[in-house]
Subunit: 260 residues, 2 copies
Amino acid sequence: MSKQKLHIIKVGGNVINNEVLLTSVLKDFSELEGFKILVHGGGKKATELANSIGLKPKMVNGRRVTDKANLEIVTMVYAGLLNKNITAQLQQNGCNSIGLSGADANCILAHKRIVKDVDYGFAGDIDTVNANNINVFLQNGMTPVFCAITHDKKGQLLNTNADTIASEIAIGMSEKYSVSLIYTFEMNGVLRSIKDEKSVIENINSVSYEELKKDGIIADGMLPKMHNCFNALQKGVSKVIIGNPTVINNKNQPFTTLVL
Amino acid sequence: MSKQKLHIIKVGGNVINNEVLLTSVLKDFSELEGFKILVHGGGKKATELANSIGLKPKMVNGRRVTDKANLEIVTMVYAGLLNKNITAQLQQNGCNSIGLSGADANCILAHKRIVKDVDYGFAGDIDTVNANNINVFLQNGMTPVFCAITHDKKGQLLNTNADTIASEIAIGMSEKYSVSLIYTFEMNGVLRSIKDEKSVIENINSVSYEELKKDGIIADGMLPKMHNCFNALQKGVSKVIIGNPTVINNKNQPFTTLVL
């Protein structure tokens, strides 16, 4: 018997920050048929809250350093404000969503990032995704909505990269499902020229990826995203797509498909 | 066949505010055998956060008036910070907890309180508890942990009294389970004299309740709690107890048992 299909869709901060866009994306997501999981990033609200109480978010190499005070902020904003408002909007659309952190039903077990050159504080690197518990939700008509907070099963919550969460959940679920992992972001896909929205590279495989890296076409912030994509493909995920949020409802626009 | 037992335990703000007490209560809750649900109140953290960003929580008749800014605060603190930290601590104790708001899996449907004399803002009055979805968690080895946030299925989150949430969940689950509803708070039970911790009234029924009200022994903040208790008993809940948190593990101390 062939596996059932599961769509895992990651929406980033640019969607979260734009109320009109978010409403439209959540509508498209609600209309998507079959098994599905949403993973959402953070957006600017955590930084705004931190500023308003006089905390300065610390960034090193483009990543947030999560001290205790900033962990409280992201737990409140990601797992509380954003996750519950997204869940409520999906419920309004008739999608029986359930908002989750990695601590809930022990869905995502992580450990505090080991300090090498930089101490990232309460940043989590994922150890295990509990596919059985996530499957309980899917098989009972519930649509999981994950925020980017995990835990270590020693009582500690951890701030975790949302792209990696999406990738690891996709890998974890691929034993039971034929998984399509879809990263949505502010561009139409991986671009040959960052200034030209029409220069979408429609197909990338592991050979052309190496060339694109060598030529400097894929660089900087795209590198960890691409790493998550190829890691997912290597570990059993059927299909990985990068595009703008309209890919969710298959509107006729270009996007990037990754294959091994 | 007799129904299986389900314990529903509500812990209030005084427990939440005291880290040592909370750890001890969560340990006792984790060790409680059989089906169980935790409902937690808010505590002082929401007020502290509101103060630190210059918001003043508005109170009318001892109830918080929830404007849009304060709804954001309680959503962040109750559904984010408190709910996820409690869930992570229970996971540490080996209790497979799942933190939920009423929006998650549409567990608790409410409507915005209708304005009569006072506009309580985004305060929710409960319409329906989704016992089937809550039962999915219980039957799959998960222990629900509810915060005091509900939704209206029109995309709106609502701030809802935690005592009422505990009572309504207890009523909703009593068709499937023999439910014991346990309210824990800072006193040893309902006291004959508020100054004497030893003056616990061990049994109250609906007749003696009327007398205690008439004599002014039960008054003020205890009245809505007692209303929730008797409402639960009238609607099928097997047992209602009020006591300090040590009642969870049956330590040998007095508490109040309510019967019809």
